[in-house]
């Protein structure tokens, strides 16, 4: 909120004092009574309105009564013929946004102004009326608005057009009737009228592809009078291109020449819009891309920060899909690393990290080190994320990148930043086995001086899982035990658990771990002591070197298979009803109650390090496993091999939102239907899905689990299980019908529903189980080593003709998606001009069989693509199956 403008410097004259000094709402409202004077003082009234505007612009609000009172007084000012005052009145009414029942007071005055012979009254009255009007009034004034759209005065026409853009949101059916007039306005000689008309016309017709295409065709040949309109036209052209595709005979892309011509426009805004449109063309070729990249490169050295920003932002996006195309700009971008504007510098760095090759990594890291010290945390996080991706792309460079991460981890920084670094290190440890030992040591050093309890406990947890599997686990003990001595109770408790994990996994360390755990028995915190006691007992704290029991390991490393909310409720009940009996954890229900789903996270968001390592307690896979294991019917299916990403079975914004997750087991598949009821007035009960598997012959239904109740906006799940032949990647199509009993909700605040319901059903979309569902994406850090060590015993090589394809990149991504494997070493990116490409894939096939694939593609002048597929795996049948998938795909 603004402070009163009091200045203390007495030397300055009356310029010191604000005309609004000491302004106070109550007093101004009193002053507003001058609006009611029979003899209006226009100047005084304008001053009071200015004060009211000042208050509103400071974020001050008026109560309903105050606003109504001011509004009624303001309407009296229509009597004045003072032009300046009238202009203020228009603005004031818009700012007050009167309610529907008050509007009636001004409509007649405004309608009068709307038909006034003074053009400017007309324009302003239109704007005010459209701001405060509702549907009924709009039909009354529609005729005038249509006239106004084609008014000779551009201000009147623009006012009506911009009003149309706003009204389209609330009264689309009315505004759509104006399209003839709007069409006429598009041809206007007034630049702004054309701009506004084009925007409105496109919004009216945006769902009519043919009409948009015609509009674009005629305007790209005609005259567009303002850069703003030109930008709109480029956007619409880009949309038309997206929908029409390349001319397969000539290879030409419609409207490309127009876009390229716009690169030479005199307005920078237009040049950028055209360059951006070209860079996002699907399957854009190097020939098409080059002119756009060239103009963007020129802007990188512009003196205006906005242009530099726009250029580097666009190139940053291009680098994600066509890194090779941007490499020419690397030198210009390197000079931007020292740009005063941190947004520009960060974008330049992250672009360079994407376009750089393996040999430039070290030089780049040196430059970034200097830069990191003087940017804010939010930018640093972006850089850390980019470095993580770079490291996954060039795993052999993990040393220098890991060192960089550990160095910045030691420097000052807030929680989010530190968490981003730790997450990155964890991901690198997970994906690059060679990086494990050094990564763990970096994390150990970090917790020696870590001010964030959350991070310390997460790292200790991770260390407990990964540390015992290293070559020399004993070196971590010192760091862990230091936590017991130096930290707060939460961290100490965590450290005790970690020590226990080392003890459980490494028998030779056990006696020494016991000594440390026994020391913890004297801790002054209950939790720490309790944990130490518990672990000493479960591990057999008598000091003998015995192998740890399987159950104990399960207890230490396994996740709690009870939903925490259920546990909480049970414990609360137990405390409220005291009893002699000790609390029995088996009494806690395992059934998952309509919990918010993990997959509701932002789409495309990568799992972050500690939040979701494969063994971590909060990963999606883990959640699924927990949900499934809580259902007795499914416990006999064995270990869950893979869960697919959710497949939507309903369109957005329908009554019931349903998606399905395919869970793959050795001999079974389970479909988990996640359902959300979006109607507040309905309660659904006994919800289940009828699945028709007639197009999935190898599958037979073996069980299902309905959902008892599905209240409004609380997601719930129902399941259907199928049996399938073991080891066969059975595929097929499934049709689905949602069945349920609908009950009307009597009281939406409590969710109370009527007793009687009606049975109903709702058709869902079909979905398929495909070969890729049997493959888990698992990367390897060094493909060549992995390939050599796998050996040629079960290698299968064959060649395939893929027929004419849109581009090489499209062919590569189709095969990757077909197999569902993890591309390695960045080989999924196809340089845009290449005629051949090699792609390396790795994965884990059902039955936990490692599979490696080498793909070599070639494309000829007629866009025919040929592919050589070499597979190595641990089993010859698996190698054959991969070929079968490709052959039948």
């Amino acid at each position: 909120m603004a402070q009163p403008l009091v200045k203390k410097d007495d030397d300055r004259d009356d310029e010191e004092y604000s005309p609004f000094l000491g302004i106070e709402k109550g007093a101004v409202l009193q002053e507003a009574r001058v609006f009611n004077d029979p003899q209006l003082d226009a100047r005084r009234c304008s001053q009071v309105i200015t004060k009211l505007l000042y208050l509103l612009n400071q974020g001050e609000t008026f109560t309903k009564i105050e606003a109504t009172e001011v509004f009624f007084s303001v309407t009296k000012l229509f009597q004045s013929r003072d032009i300046g005052l009238r202009r203020m009145v228009y603005l004031m009414i818009k700012e007050l946004s009167p309610s529907a029942d008050e509007v009636i007071i001004v409509t007649s005055s405004l309608m009068k102004d709307m038909n006034s012979r003074t053009d400017m009254y007309r324009a302003n009255a239109i704007r005010v009326l459209c701001r405060i009007t509702d549907g009924t009034l709009l039909t009354q004034i529609e005729r005038y608005l249509k006239q106004a759209i084609v008014d000779k005065n551009p201000v009147v026409a623009s006012a009506a057009l911009v009003s149309g853009i706003h009204l389209l949101q609330t009264n689309p059916e009315i505004v759509k009737r104006w399209s003839n007039e709007v069409q006429e306005a598009v041809q206007s000689r007034a630049a702004l009228v054309q701009f506004h008309a084009l925007a409105l016309l496109h919004q009216i017709r945006q769902n009519d592809r043919l009409a948009v295409s015609k509009l674009v065709t005629s305007l790209t040949k005609g005259t567009v009078r303002s850069p703003l309109a030109q930008c709109l036209l480029i956007r619409y052209t880009s949309q038309v291109i997206r929908e029409s595709g390349v001319n397969t005979q000539t290879g030409d892309r419609p409207f490309y020449d127009y876009l390229e011509g716009c690169l030479r426009h005199k307005a920078e805004m237009v040049i950028f819009e055209a360059a951006r449109a070209i860079t996002v063309l699907s399957g854009v070729t190097t020939r098409e891309l080059t002119p756009a990249i060239t103009v963007l490169q020129l802007f990188l050295s512009s003196s205006k920060p906005v242009l530099r920003f726009a250029a580097v932002r666009t190139l940053n996006k291009v680098a994600m899909t066509h890194p090779m195309a941007v490499t020419n700009c690397n030198i210009d971008m390197e000079s931007l690393i020292s740009d005063q504007n941190r947004s520009i510098a960060t974008l330049a760095i992250t672009t360079l990290l994407k376009t750089g090759n393996e040999s430039s990594v070290d030089r780049l890291m040196k430059q970034i080190t200097n830069f990191m010290s003087d940017i804010a945390d939010e930018f640093k996080i972006v850089v850390v994320d980019a470095i993580r991706s770079l490291c996954l792309k060039f795993p052999l460079k993990y040393r220098s990148l890991m060192n960089f991460l550990s160095n910045i981890l030691r420097e000052e920084g807030g929680f989010e930043y530190k968490k981003a670094i730790v997450d990155s290190i964890v991901i690198l440890i997970r994906d690059i086995p060679d990086a494990k030992e050094s990564g763990l040591l970096h994390l150990c050093e970090f917790i020696e001086d870590c001010e964030f309890t959350y991070l310390s406990t997460q790292i200790l947890h991770f260390l407990g899982n990964e540390g015992p599997k290293t070559s020399d686990p004993s070196k971590y003990i010192r760091y862990i035990y230091n936590r017991v001595i130096l930290e707060n109770a939460t961290v100490r408790a965590s450290a005790v658990s970690t020590l226990a994990k080392f003890g459980a996994m490494i028998d030779s360390l056990k006696p020494r771990i016991f000594i440390l755990l026994r020391r913890c028995l004297f801790d002054n915190d209950d939790e720490v002591r309790d944990r130490a006691t518990l672990y000493l007992n479960t591990l057999g704290g008598d000091g003998s070197v015995v192998e740890t029991d399987k159950d104990v390991k399960e207890f230490l490393f396994g996740s709690l298979d009870i939903p925490l909310t259920n546990m909480e409720t049970s414990l609360k009940n137990y405390i409220q009803n005291p009893s002699e009996e000790p609390f029995d954890i088996n009494s806690v229900p395992k059934e998952v109650k309509s919990q918010p789903l993990v997959e509701k996270k932002a789409p495309g968001k990568k799992p972050t390090g500690l939040g979701a390592p494969p063994t971590g307690p909060t990963s999606t896979a883990d959640t699924y496993e927990r949900i499934l294991s809580s259902i007795p019917e499914f416990t006999s299916f064995g270990k869950l091999f893979k869960s697919s990403a959710p497949v939507e079975l309903t369109e957005a914004e329908t009554e019931y939102a349903v998606n399905v997750v395919k869970h793959i087991f050795d001999r079974h598949v389970v479909f988990q239907y996640n359902c959300t009821n979006t109607i507040p007035e309905q309660l659904l009960e006994n919800v289940f899905v009828i699945v028709d598997a007639s197009e999935a012959e190898e599958f037979s239904e073996v069980g299902s689990k309905p959902l008892k109740s599905l209240p409004y906006d609380t997601p719930g799940q129902t399941f259907v299980a199928f049996e399938k032949p073991e080891g066969v990647p059975a595929v097929g199509k499934f049709s689905n019908m949602l069945r349920f009993t609908v009950k009307e909700v009597v009281d939406t605040s409590t969710g109370e529903a009527e007793d009687d319901g009606v049975e109903d059903e709702y058709q869902l979309e079909d979905f398929e189980v495909v070969a890729a569902d049997y493959m888990v994406k698992v990367g390897v850090s060094n493909f060549r080593n992995a390939w050599e060590s796998m050996g040629p015993d079960f290698e299968r090589i064959d060649e395939y003709g893929l027929g004419p394809r849109e581009s090489l990149a499209e062919a590569v991504s189709t095969v990757i998606n077909l197999l569902g494997m993890q591309p390695c070493e960045g080989t999924e990116v196809v340089p845009s001009n290449s005629r051949s490409h090699s792609c390396l894939l790795s994965g884990l096939y059902i039955g936990n069989m490692k599979v490696l694939v080498r793909l070599s593609f070639g494309i000829d002048a007629s866009k025919e693509v040929a592919m050589k597929l070499a597979v190595r795996s641990e089993d010859e049948n698996v190698s054959d199956t991969i070929h079968d998938i490709v052959a039948s795909g």
């Binding site: 403008l5 612009n57 003074t118 302003n124 709109l232 504007n341």
Partner: protein, 147 residues
């Protein structure tokens, strides 16, 4: 959508604040974010030299004019270039109304006129007028000269 136009003095006090399509509970956050952005970066910047930033999917273009700093915030089609156009119109109109890059006092003296200009330039998040001569006439309810 042009999400916000905000004009502040050098101490960070808000002089004009107009939001479009920004929920009331987020406005305070935006206000303090912009003021801090200005405090961090606008020192020593020349009149009308444009600075740019992005925050989440939103763009911000800001500058200094006399004693006031001007911020415009936009998203989607109102990217940094469209915002640069908008801020150019706003600063030209301000100079026009005040006769020079305004002191704070001058700005407040002409407050009513400035509100009218902003009303002509941005209407509920859409850029409406871009020519300062025309705006100058419109706030006095005079038709544009080219008409």
């Amino acid at each position: 959508m042009l999400l916000a136009v905000l004009i502040a003095n050098f101490e960070g006090n808000i002089l004009v604040e107009r939001f479009n399509g920004v929920p009331a509970e987020e406005r305070l956050h935006w206000r303090s974010f912009l003021v801090k952005l200005g405090a961090d970066n606008l020192k020593g910047v020349k009149n009308e030299e444009l600075l740019v930033a992005s925050h989440r999917s939103v763009y911000i273009v800001y500058t200094v004019l006399g004693d006031v700093s001007i911020f415009v915030v936009g998203k989607d089609e109102y990217d940094e270039l469209a915002l640069a156009e908008a801020i150019f119109v706003i600063s030209s109109a301000l100079k026009d109304v005040c006769g020079k890059p305004p002191t704070e006092r001058l700005f407040l003296d002409k407050y009513g006129k400035i509100c009218l200009c902003l009303d002509e330039i941005v209407w509920k998040g859409l850029l409406e007028n871009t020519d300062k001569e025309r705006i100058k006439r419109l706030v006095r309810l005079k038709p544009p000269t080219e008409f």
